[in-house]
Amino acid sequence: MGRFVGQRVIESLADQLPELPADTGQKSFSLFASYLDQTGKENLEKIREESRALMTEKVGVFRTEVGLSEAVEALKALKERAANTTLACKSLKMNPELILRWELDNLLSISLVTAVCALNRRESRGGHARQDFPERKDEFNYHTLATMTAFAEVDLGKRAVDMSIFESHCEHHERFGMIERKY
């Protein structure tokens, strides 16, 4: 899929294709080389399992400031432990264990961003239910944009909610206003 998208991007850019930087792909190469080189006694599956339980328990349906903060710290610890795993298979040909190792890093990254965003949103809205902040608040009427340049270094930005249908005053526009969704 990624390859296909890349090919289409190249096609559509045609002659405007910029010069590629000299170290193109280097980051991926060194990342995968580090997976193959790293050693340690930690178990990949165990870390994955622990992160799954952690996310269900502390970043699941009902969330609290304490639980989310603990989850952030626990995820940082899991990330450190992940660096101490040894791959049994070092091959580059169809190596599911290598993919699993990469996947674990991605899972931990997404988990951490999710926890940090949930921690920041001190309100309850839709599927995000904070037991310590059960009310919806207008100050949070925006989409959160998260950027993570290095693990656990998360920058939070905002994007306004698209209200164009409501503001267009077209037929039934009033149904697209901002209201509290509740039972």
């Binding site: 990949l44 049994a88 599911p96 264990e97 699993l100």
Partner: protein, 240 residues
């Protein structure tokens, strides 16, 4: 019924780096309700992280996890431990990769290679006829659709092609043949001659030995052999 089973999986392995193949035994205690894909996952987790296998949807809709279990090609995700014990009357399972394409590693075969045959028959409408119901959907009478609608449920898991007793080298294989037959029966297709040329060629339907192994193993319970038989008798376009 027992609560747990002691399962012995004898898995055909292949290491592409050293071009070495062997059969490896894994012994596991499992619950009754466990898919074979989860059995592989359990092996990865508890016994051997290097065992390579393939899956995608894990609910019998994509055809990625097909393997041979005690000789029978089937979807690993559709087979539960308990049902397997009943069906094969044993707790020992020989698990091998499909035989329709070269093995990449362990239970994973080169699906690109396998799909070459399907692509060859062009599993789409090559030349659509003008839609008499222009601007709307093309209408096909339910009675007509009924003749081939079963065949459209094929997921190209290649179980039939693996079970097929005809040659894998010069036969298009049951699933590819059936995909072409579907389009021959499809009123929207104009390129019937192009399809027939390939269907009745050296690698076409006459390679079929009518063993009906394809129908026997199909996880989607499609009577594949029926569609090949229709092609053999030329009964593709009549509404009979």
């Amino acid at each position: 019924m027992q609560e747990t089973y002691q399962i012995v999986s004898k898995i055909q392995r292949y290491d592409p780096d050293n071009d070495r193949s062997w059969i490896q035994n894994y012994q596991l205690e499992t619950g009754r309700i466990l898919q074979f894909t989860d059995l592989f996952r359990k092996i990865n987790k508890e016994l051997d992280p290097t065992l390579a296998w393939n899956s995608s949807c894990e609910h019998g809709q994509c055809g990625t996890c097909s393997v041979k279990i005690n000789g029978k090609p089937m979807l690993a995700c559709e087979l539960l431990v308990e049902n397997a014990v009943v069906h094969f009357e044993t707790t020992e399972f020989l698990i091998e990769p499909l035989t329709i394409a070269p093995v990449v590693r362990d239970l994973i075969v080169d699906f690109d290679k396998a799909y070459e045959r399907v692509h060859k028959i062009k599993p789409y409408i090559i030349e659509p006829v003008a839609n008499p119901n222009s601007g709307n959907e093309y209408k096909i009478a339910p009675g007509h659709l009924q003749r081939y609608v079963d065949a459209t449920r094929c997921i190209n898991c290649f179980c039939c092609a693996t079970a097929c007793i005809s040659s894998h080298h010069n036969f298009l294989g049951p699933n590819a043949i059936m995909a072409s037959v579907v389009r021959l029966m499809d009123l929207r297709e104009q390129a019937k001659d192009e399809r027939k040329t390939l269907l009745y060629s050296e690698e076409g339907v006459y390679r079929c030995h009518t063993s009906r192994a394809c129908s026997f193993v199909c996880p989607k319970e499609i009577d594949v052999a029926h569609f090949i038989a229709l092609a053999k008798s030329g009964a593709l376009e009549s509404d009979a």
